[in-house]
Symmetry: none
């Protein structure tokens, strides 16, 4: 399960924080670290010192230009958010996220991305809207900004607790570990669509909505955000994605023929 969880850091500006994240990940048994457009060097004295022996994670890190590339193969993307923004989105506590992980990680192709934003400004609305759900670490209302490595530490710890709750990962008898909690199993008769497939769908959908004159990108009125939220919530399977794409193509054909005749 843990090997299917990716930590994605966007626009990080302090190497020390990247090192701290690597240490927290390795401590909790996570190994997949992706950076999106970091605003600092990754391998520095500071990051290596804070990684404190987990610096192999710094060397194996993949660097991407955009969040889309970093989560392209992911079946679930969850963004860490301090507050719910203008458009409410499905919101989880770290523990609710943990409860979902065992079933979310069951398929061999499953990949779960936990996405963290910039030290100073977090994730943008556009980035948050690329996530299926948001996770909020409960904090003191007067002092809510967690250090990046501390935020990763809390979620990575919840990942490990969820992993340990699966009976076959129980520690040897010396460590009683944690009780098994029931999980809601996702009923899928097919594999979930990847994040990249969903993004291609949203692009296609927007083109078609413009073609049929339903959508004006100059007056977006949160239309695409609302549609994203709806379809991300539904967690489409690959087969369903094929159907939805097929409907778009058929619609496009109709709209194009119309323009052809005009």
């Amino acid at each position: 399960m843990l090997e299917r969880i990716r930590i994605v850091l966007i626009g990080t500006s302090h190497p020390g924080n990247i090192g701290g994240v690597a240490r927290a990940m390795h401590n909790m048994g996570l190994a997949d670290l992706a950076l999106v457009a970091p605003r600092c060097e990754v391998i520095t004295q500071d990051s290596i010192s804070r990684a404190s022996g987990a610096d192999h994670l710094l060397h194996s890190t993949q660097v991407f230009a955009t969040i889309e590339e970093a989560v392209a193969d992911c079946t679930l993307a969850v963004g860490a958010s301090a507050r719910s923004r203008t458009l409410p989105w499905p919101m989880l506590t770290p523990r609710e996220l943990a409860d979902r992980l065992p079933s979310e990680c069951q398929a061999p192709s499953a990949r779960v991305a936990l996405v963290f934003g910039r030290e100073d400004s977090g994730l943008t609305n556009a980035e948050l809207q690329r996530c299926h759900a948001h996770v909020h670490i409960p904090t003191n209302a007067d002092f809510s900004s967690l250090n990046l490595a501390a935020a990763v530490q809390v979620l990575a710890y919840e990942c490990r607790m969820a992993w340990l709750s699966q009976t076959d990962n129980q520690q040897p008898a010396s460590d009683p570990g944690d009780t098994v909690r029931p999980v809601t199993v996702l009923e899928a008769d097919d594999e979930l669509a990847s994040h990249a497939a969903l993004e291609r769908y949203f692009e296609h959908l927007e083109r078609v909505l413009v073609a049929i004159e339903f959508h004006d990108p100059d007056k977006p009125r949160q239309l695409m955000a609302r549609l994203r939220r709806l379809y991300l919530r539904a967690r489409p399977e690959q087969m369903e994605m094929n159907i939805l794409r097929g409907i778009l193509s058929a619609t496009e054909k109709a709209a194009q023929r119309k323009h052809h005749h005009e």
Copy 2:
């Protein structure tokens, strides 16, 4: 409850770690920090920078010469331990500790100390044996040494979760951002669409799919059943239903104009 929990750091040698601990504590609503025989300055550029706004905790910190003095008034002392040592001791997971905190903190005179050892060598056996119980944060067996501030972060987070689980600490309506949301499901900013509205949508959808020549009712191939399952799973809100109906109408218009031209 949280004001009755003290974090005790023994023999800390890096000011940055003390700052990181102060930040983690303040983030989670803890305020009582005690240092036992620190092996470094407490107020330095490094500790203030890592405290990142929680430096009042550094100034209010009490410094003691021995663990006995630091926990003298405590009704429960729990030592953070990487492993159980020579002499087995009552051992808790962080979550088991959290489960005990509300009752442990009930009396006005109750004080709970969470005791953390040196960065390099942890707590001595003598120190561990001054604690009622030990708490072990589960870690990767190959890389078990947590950063001090990260260890405090995990236990402070569990303290806050335990505090929030008490019904009277559920967030007031005035601070929605800090709320631990009780539900995993969607946050509706609107009422859910009625069943009747969904049925009208499915009828409309089927008509449009026929019009754009995507669907042949004589060869249904479970298409409508699959689309029903997808949209029912998403639990559309009324506003989303309006958008989906709007898209269908715009599609219909495009298709009708096409037929008109033919």
